[in-house]
Symmetry: C2
Subunit: 337 residues, 2 copies
C-alpha cells in the first residue's frame, strides 16, 4: 500500500509530515510518497534513519497558502503540492492522499482532480468527535455550506459505511442534527430530509439534538456543512477553554500543585480522550479514491494517526462499499419513482 | 416592583418557584405574584416565613405540559398558569413574568398575549453563556427556526441593548455566527445579513466562528434559532459530559480522592462559573413587556437568579431602549430607501 502525503501543508510542515512518514514506513510497513519541494524534503528526511525503499519524493515546487481562493488556486497552480498529490492519486500512483494544508484547496482538488464517486452529488468532510460513548462521526463538517435533503441522505450512507468499516460500528445509528427530537422539528432542510432518511439504506434513529453531540447518541450525525462547521468549532473552542481552566486550576498555588500530582494519571487519560491527535484526520467521503484532511495544527503524532487512518480507509474498502450502497439507493429510488 | 412567577412550570414546580419567591420577597424587597393552583401554592407557601404583604396568588387551575402543541394550547387553555400570567403582564398587573414551563408555550404567550414591540418582526430568545471572557449573549437561542436577514439585525439591536443595560457591557460587540470570519463566508442567511449588520446601530465586529462562542469573542452572538438551539444544547451537553468525567476522575480511588481535597476550591469556582443557575433565565426580547424563560430543570437558586434578572430587566428599562433604537433604525432605513 502506498499513501501520498502532502509534505508542505499545515503549521508544522515539512517537519511533522516527514517525521510521521518515517515512523509509518517503519512501524506500519507501508510505502509513502512525500509531495513537495524536493530539496526541503530531502534535508528533513536526512535527519532520520528509515527503510529507504519505502519513502519516495514527488517534486512539487509550489504551495497553496491558507489565504488563497481554493478553487482558483487548484486550477492554476499546477505545481502546488496538493494538486500534484491529487493528480498522482487520480492516476493510481498511490492508494490514498493526506494533506494538512488549506482545507478548501484539498476539497477542490478532491472534487476537480480526484473526482466524485458515480451517483454522489456532493462529497462531504467527515470528522470524528470524541464523545462519552466513544468516537462518533459528524458529517458534513464543512464542505457544503448549502445542502439539499438528498445530500443529507448520501452523507448518511457514506458516514454509515465509514463507521462500519473503519470504526467497527455494527449497523451504525444515523441521526439528523435538529432543534428537537420529534419528526416535525427542524428547519426546512432537515424537515424535508427526515422522510427520505427513513427510506434510506441505513439505521436511521431520527432527529438528535445538540446535547446528543458529545453524549454520542448516534454513530453518524448528519447536518449541512454550515451547521457542522459551527458545531465542530464550538466543541473545539470549548475544549480549549476548559483545558486552559483546568491548567489554571492545578497551577494556582502549591496546594493545588500537590493535588495535581494525585490525579495526574486521570488528567492524562482525560486529555488523551479529548486529543484530536489520536483520532487522525477528517476523511473527505464521496471521492473516487480516499482523501484525508489532517488538522492544520497537526504535529507528527497527529499526522501519524492520519496515515494509520488512511491505511484503514484503504484496507477496509470503504469506497467500494459506498459505490455499492449508492447504486442500490439510486436503484431503489428509481423503483419507487 | 412586582414580578409574576409561573408557579406550576418546570421540573421542580411548585417547590422551586415558591421557595425562590419567598427568598426574593425577603432579600430583594420586591412583590411577587405566584400564578397557579391556589391550594397547591398555599400549601407550599405555608412551609415558609415571609413578608405576607409581598406575595400574592393568582389562581390558574391548568398547566400546559411539555407534550402539548404550544400555540394551540395557549389559545385554548385559558386557565393555564402561563396564559393567566401573560394576561396579567399585558394588563400591567405586574412588571415582568417568569416561567420555567414549556418553552414553546411561553413564546406563544409572549407573542399572542403580551404582544410585540412596534417594529420588531420577530421576538427572540436570548441566553447567557458563561465564556472565557465572562457572560455573553446568544440570540436567537431557539424561538425562530427560519429567519430573514432583517430579523438578525433586530436580534443584534435587542441583544446589544440587553447586554449594555443588564450586564453593563460598554458599546457591546455584536458578531454573526458563521463558518468563517471573512465577509464572503456564510450560508445564504448570514451572507445577506452581513452588509445590513454593518449599517445597523450597534458595534458590529463581523463574522465570528464556533470557536469564538466559548472564547467570548463577541458580547452578542447573533444567529437564527435553529443554529442557536444546536449551539446552546451542544455546549450544555458537553458541559454535562465533562462534568461527569471530572467527577469520575476524582472519585476513581483513594489517591484521586485525596487529590480532590487539594483542588476542591478551584473545582467549586469552576463549577460555579459553568453553572447556568447563577445566570438566571433566557429573556424573550422583543415583547412589549419583560418575559423570561427559566431553565426547565431550575432549582430554587436558579429561579431566584431569574427573579433577580427580571428585576434588573425592568429597572434598567431595556424595553424602552429597544423601542427607541428600533424607531431610529426604521427611520434610518426609510431615509436610505
Amino acid at each position: 500500500m502506498k499513501i501520498i502525503v502532502d509534505a508542505m501543508g499545515g503549521d508544522h510542515a515539512p517537519q511533522a509530515p516527514v517525521e510521521a512518514s518515517v515512523r509509518a514506513a517503519g512501524e506500519l510497513g507501508i510505502d509513502i510518497v512525500l509531495v513537495g519541494d524536493t530539496p526541503v524534503i530531502e534535508k528533513e528526511l536526512s535527519k532520520y534513519k528509515y527503510p529507504k525503499e519505502r519513502i519516495t519524493i514527488a517534486h512539487a515546487p509550489d504551495v497553496i497558502s491558507n489565504h488563497e481562493e481554493p478553487a482558483k488556486a487548484v486550477r492554476h497552480k499546477k505545481g502546488a503540492s496538493v494538486v500534484v498529490a491529487a493528480g498522482m492519486l487520480k492516476r493510481g500512483e498511490g492508494d490514498a492522499m493526506l494533506s494538512m494544508g488549506n482545507t478548501g484547496a484539498l476539497l477542490a482538488a478532491g472534487l476537480l482532480i480526484v473526482g466524485r464517486i458515480k451517483g454522489i452529488v456532493r462529497p462531504a468532510l467527515a470528522t470524528i468527535l470524541p464523545t462519552a460513548k466513544g468516537p462518533k462521526l459528524l458529517i458534513d463538517a464543512g464542505a457544503n455550506t448549502n445542502c439539499k435533503p438528498e445530500n443529507l441522505v448520501q452523507f448518511g450512507i457514506m458516514g454509515s459505511v465509514y463507521m462500519e468499516n473503519v470504526h467497527a460500528a455494527k449497523t451504525p445509528t444515523v441521526g439528523i442534527i435538529s432543534n428537537g427530537e420529534e419528526e416535525g422539528k427542524g428547519d426546512e432542510l432537515t424537515k424535508k430530509a427526515y422522510p427520505k432518511m427513513k427510506q434510506a439504506p441505513f439505521n436511521f434513529i431520527g432527529n438528535i439534538e445538540g446535547r446528543d453531540v458529545m453524549e454520542g447518541t448516534a454513530d453518524v450525525m448528519v447536518c449541512d456543512g454550515f451547521v457542522g462547521n459551527v458545531i465542530l468549532k464550538t466543541v473545539e473552542g470549548m475544549g480549549h477553554v476548559i483545558g486552559s481552566m483546568v491548567k489554571q486550576l492545578f497551577t494556582k498555588n502549591l496546594k493545588t500543585k500537590i493535588g495535581a500530582l494525585f490525579v495526574m494519571d486521570g488528567v492524562k487519560d482525560f486529555k488523551r480522550m479529548m486529543d484530536y491527535r489520536e483520532y487522525g484526520g477528517a476523511p473527505l467521503l464521496g471521492t473516487k479514491r480516499p482523501v484525508i484532511k489532517g488538522h492544520g495544527s497537526s504535529d507528527a503524532l497527529a499526522v501519524f494517526s492520519a496515515i494509520k487512518q488512511a491505511e484503514k480507509f484503504v484496507s477496509t474498502d470503504v469506497i467500494k462499499c459506498i459505490e455499492d450502497k449508492i447504486k442500490y439507493d439510486i436503484m431503489e429510488e428509481n423503483n419507487n419513482a
